[in-house]
């Protein structure tokens, strides 16, 4: 498997997706009857490129805007600003009529496998629905044949085509969700915490399936997760979000071997390692406090209230995303001296 990054081997390939200064702001009613609305900046100026066959991991704690980012890229939430260029063409603000054909290539898999399946539809109908919508010219038999083929591909028995979602376990429901996303052979799938709700023994099955499908269909994946161990396994590049801002964006190997942002360091050191010797002797950076409210984020660097190295400058100036190497960008004033 080749690791595709802007650096290694894909320079002549153009990105499949380019996101520039993407913002999603929600209006929250003000406190008091005549108070003006307040802004919740869920995603506040995110930039990245995604290449064919690449997996970008988006990690961060709950409320950091990672799911909102995934949805804004697919135009399931209207961005408040910025650009999302799909194959070179900006799709922000595209009318429904123009978006519809693009949706064939842009799919999503959700966290809760059962809740994202309609309980009144058979799994055959669920998996066939994108085909019925996007390829109405196909005959019934052809649709059924394709559904069965895809079921077999994702590890479901094709004879279960007439069963209902509740008859399946969590892992199998996630396979149904993957089959539904894959049936149109898309180019990009946003995976929103696809394995978090699953048992440990099932997580590995689903992760392996996603990787196989990626190789087979040259898929690009945006893998949203709070689990940094799984992200390390499946992703080529990783973006660390905190309160809607990118803290660090780097190659997988760089970010784990040499994290530059204090938040990335803390996140990585907080993940428990299933090895008693290593886990008990490792160095840890324990952050104090909780995530601040995104309605009134700290001035300057949004991370400064929990950062063990915060200085005066951090409160007054927003750090820019600095390129520290060809494959690593960090948003910290003091990344050189830490």
């Amino acid at each position: 498997m080749t690791v595709m990054t802007p650096k290694s081997g894909t320079q002549d390939t153009s990105p499949i997706l380019s996101v520039r200064d993407l913002k999603v702001h929600f209006a929250i009613p003000g406190k008091g009857l005549f108070a003006p609305d307040r802004q919740l900046k869920a995603v506040d100026g995110v930039n990245f490129d995604l290449y064919p066959g690449e997996t970008l991991g988006v990690v961060g704690e709950s409320g950091c805007g990672k799911s909102t980012l995934g949805r804004a890229i697919l135009q399931l939430i209207a961005p408040s600003g910025g650009q999302v260029a799909w194959l070179g063409k900006n799709i922000v603000g595209s009318p429904h009529r123009e978006m519809q054909p693009l949706r064939r290539d842009l799919q999503i898999i959700f966290q809760d496998p059962l809740a994202s399946l309609n309980p009144r539809m058979t799994i055959g109908e669920i998996i066939a629905e994108p085909l019925v919508t996007h390829k109405p010219e196909l005959g019934k038999e052809e649709i059924k044949a394709r559904v069965k083929r895809m079921m077999a591909r994702v590890g479901l028995l094709p004879q279960m085509i007439n069963r209902y979602p509740h008859e399946f376990s969590g892992g199998q429901c996630q396979r149904i969700g993957i089959a539904r996303a894959m049936i149109l052979e898309p180019k990009l799938i946003v995976c929103d915490e696809p394995v978090s709700a699953l048992d440990v023994s099932i997580q590995a099955q689903i992760v392996n399936l996603l990787q196989e499908l990626q190789r087979e269909f040259d898929l690009s994946l945006i893998f949203i997760s709070h689990d940094l161990s799984i992200v390390r396994h499946i992703c080529h590049r990783i973006m660390v979000l905190y309160l809607g801002n990118v803290m660090e964006l780097a190659d997988r190997d760089n970010i784990y071997a040499n994290p530059r942002h204090p938040y990335t360091k803390a996140l990585i050191s907080a993940v428990p390692i299933p090895d008693p010797e290593i886990e008990r002797n490792k160095e840890r950076i324990v952050l104090t406090g909780d995530l601040p409210s995104p309605i009134s984020p700290p001035s300057g660097c949004v991370f400064r209230t929990r950062c063990p190295f915060a200085k005066d400058k951090c409160a007054s100036e927003v750090p820019k995303l600095d390129r520290v190497s060809d494959t690593q960008e960090v948003a910290c004033h003091f990344h050189d001296s830490l």
Binding site: M1, E61, S62, S169, G171, Q172, D199, V200, S201, I202, Q203, A204, Q205, V207, N208, Q211, E212, H226, L228, S229, I230, R232, H233, R252, D253, Y256, A266, L267, I268, S269, A270, V271, P272, I273, P274, D275, P276, E277, I278, E279, R280, R284, V286, L287, T288, D290, L291, R306
Partner: protein
């Protein structure tokens, strides 16, 4: 038999009556905990790990019933009437749950929820109880405890609510603390804070702790002994190092191998345990793990391998132990 065990569980079986028939959620489980010890209970959803402790705390759902023996020190506590059980649970044995929002009463201030137990069990006055509650909130790292004690649960963040739960569980200096997935609902940075807190508290109070979790990383950092559950039964027990570096049961081995590691770069496929977790309503004859096991033998489908002790404090329920 010497009993410096603080908690001794023997032949515990818990059944639920359901419209589809009887389900054995916990089957013939035996273990003990000593003072100051941390026991990790590991298993997937439906493995029975939580039901063991709901049984011994008398918190089973209405359709559930338990048999066997659970002794707190020398007192038999299984199936005691609530009135008797209340002298022990919440006082000598406390439990914290996964979801701190649903286990706190949203209508009552933290102060009310915390002082109640002290007034009830310790006969303290309201003022004394409040003082103790504030001291305990302070101990678990809640800033401004004296003010925040008068707030409602929704005014706290997830991590802070879990701290409140822990403070509440520790109010009466319990000798046994049962933590059921206490950090699963929390973010990793907050999880690290809570695990540190539990570690510190254990040092300070010498509480025997049970850590129910599916996260083998959490167990590796916190526990002295581990009990691995599968299909309602214990399949392997041992000291934490033995379990991680010399696991004997194929399920334990599979679980450890299937965990992606943050400290390893891995280009290949993850090892995945094939198949699905067992359906308790329809367990196969013989070993519950046979359909997913890489070492399965003919014998496994005919008889159930008993939990066999070997070495010191170790046991595994697999025919491979017989060398056959």
């Amino acid at each position: 038999m010497t009993t410096n065990h603080i908690l001794t569980v023997e032949n515990l079986t818990t059944r639920f009556q359901t419209p589809d028939g009887e389900v054995e959620a916990v089957n013939n489980v035996n273990f003990h905990i000593d003072p100051g010890e941390t026991l990790g209970v590991v298993g997937e959803s439906g493995s029975g790990k939580t039901q063991i402790f709901l049984s011994l705390m008398g918190l089973l759902a209405k359709n559930g019933s338990s048999s066997g023996s659970v002794r707190y020190k020398d007192t038999e506590i299984l199936n005691l009437p609530a009135r008797e059980l209340n002298k022990i649970r919440g006082v000598s044995m406390s439990m914290i749950f996964q979801d701190p929002m649903t286990s706190l009463n949203p209508y009552l201030k933290i102060s009310k929820q915390m002082t109640e137990v002290l007034v009830e069990h310790r006969g303290m006055s309201e003022a004394e109880a409040l003082k103790r509650a504030i001291a305990m909130l302070d101990r678990v790292g809640i800033p401004g405890a004296a003010q925040r004690v008068h707030m409602y649960p929704h005014e706290f963040s997830g991590g802070m609510r879990q701290r409140v739960m822990i403070a509440m569980a520790l109010l009466c200096d319990p000798e046994v603390l049962i933590a059921d997935e206490p950090t699963t609902a929390l973010d990793v940075t907050v999880q690290a804070q809570i695990l540190d807190l539990l570690r510190d508290l254990q040092k300070d109070f010498n509480t025997a702790t049970v850590m129910i979790t599916h996260d083998l990383g959490v167990v590796a950092g916190l526990c002295d002994r581990v009990m691995v559950m599968y299909g309602g039964r214990v399949v392997e027990t041992g000291a934490v190092r033995d379990i991680y570096y010399d696991s004997h049961h194929p399920y334990t081995e599979g679980l450890l191998k299937s965990m992606p590691r943050i400290d390893h770069a891995n280009e290949e496929n993850l090892f995945a345990i094939p198949g699905q977790p067992p359906n308790l309503q329809n367990l196969p004859t013989g070993c519950a793990y046979q359909e997913r096991c890489g070492y399965v033998m003919e014998r496994c489908s005919k008889e159930r391998p008993p939990l066999k002790a070997f070495d010191q404090d170790r046991a595994s329920a697999c025919f491979r132990e017989d060398g056959q």
